[in-house]
């Protein structure tokens, strides 16, 4: 059957998630904090980055973490060691965080502290380069991590993640001398799919580039009262 153009329902499949994400975002605005959604493949170094960054960030910011480990408390336990409030989010076996899961995490966070006293809320998403990119959680910015050991073709194979990210951290750069990987090609591929991305090279092991990453966070904090880009789709 032919369908005339005006005969449309035009309902976004992710409407329910987006409503919840907007709701979360209103909370973040009300609490006057910056929320960053950290995403990468498993093992790219999200938790290691947090372990390295949190003590330095906490020197002049009040920070908390929502930890979206799939089934275990391992990452949350690693982060508790740096004395920052960490709330584990139960994701069951879901391959990504969605806005409702983060909302649940926020309720737990509120039981522990008053979020309006926070400046920065970091969300570690489930390790997965595909799905988290499609599910907004209400964050101000998406942060994608790509480790140099993953190869320079990954931005091309998982384009949505790198397209959606506002900042891409190329991690584990301390390993570059041992790898046949082309750092310039990683950069070029990221910027081909997303010319607006900020790309920063970091090593959680040596601390290289961490200052640039923190500088980006500070800039995002300073800009957070400006209107946020519309939640992505079509």
């Amino acid at each position: 059957m032919h369908m005339p153009l005006e005969d449309t329902l035009d309902l976004n499949l992710l409407t329910a998630n987006q409503h919840q994400a907007e709701h979360n975002h209103q909370h973040f605005q009300g609490w006057d904090l910056l929320c960053l959604n950290l995403m990468s493949s498993p093992g790219a170094g999200k938790t290691a980055l947090l372990e390295r960054s949190l003590p330095a960030l906490a020197a002049d910011l009040r920070v908390a973490v929502l930890e979206g480990d799939m089934t275990t408390l391992l990452d949350a336990e690693r982060l508790e060691a740096v004395s920052i409030p960490v709330v584990p989010i139960t994701t069951g076996r879901s391959c990504h965080l969605d806005a409702a899961m983060v909302s649940g995490g926020l309720k737990l966070l509120e039981q522990r502290l008053d979020p309006s006293g926070l400046d920065l809320l970091l969300v570690e998403n489930v390790g997965n380069l595909v799905c988290p990119a499609e599910f907004e959680v209400g964050e101000h910015h998406k942060v994608a991590l790509l480790s140099v050991t993953e190869g320079d073709d990954k931005p091309l194979k998982y384009p949505l993640m790198f397209r959606q990210a506002d900042v891409v951290l190329i991690t584990k750069v301390d390993l570059l001398p041992h790898l046949p990987v082309d750092l310039a090609a990683i950069r070029r591929n990221i910027l081909s799919i997303n010319p607006n991305a900020t790309v920063i090279e970091v090593s959680a092991l040596t601390g290289e580039g961490i200052h640039s990453w923190h500088h980006w966070v500070q800039q995002a904090l300073a800009a957070r009262k400006q209107p946020v880009p519309a939640l992505a789709t079509a």
Partner: protein
């Protein structure tokens, strides 16, 4: 794995749509979905998980039809439309420019629903309605 989550999203949207209807929906015949090629959804898997998920629900027996929407970018240098491909890093073939503007491919939308509001009336008239 994410097709399961996408199916859940779809069912939530369909339930919300049903709850908004003035007349009770007797039966859904077909759900028409637009899925862009630059999304994380694989159409065949979505149909499979949908068929499994609706069993025993009010949507049992309905069919999910997916129209794939091509991934189209626009070259900001010369304004030409093109299909971004990984082999050329999604850059424009005309000017070798990065993918700045996406024209289509990010769609994930329920375009329309073919349904009957009342089984007896529908049987008599043979009419199936489509959403507006």
């Amino acid at each position: 794995m994410h097709e399961v989550d996408m199916t859940k999203c779809l069912l939530i949207s369909l339930n919300e749509w049903r709850d908004r209807q003035a007349q009770p929906t007797a039966m859904v015949e077909t759900v028409h979905l637009d899925v862009g090629r630059f999304t994380c959804v694989e159409p065949n898997q979505l149909v499979t998980t949908y068929n499994a998920a609706v069993q025993g629900s009010w949507l049992d027996g309905s069919e999910l039809t997916i129209t794939e929407i091509p991934f189209v970018g626009r070259c900001v240098a010369c304004n030409a439309s093109y299909n971004p491909v990984p082999e050329s890093a999604y850059r424009s073939p005309c000017c070798d420019h990065p993918l700045k503007e996406i024209v289509s491919g990010r769609e994930l939308r329920i375009r329309s629903i073919d349904y009957r509001t009342d089984a007896r009336a529908a049987l008599e008239s043979g009419q199936i309605q489509r959403t507006r």
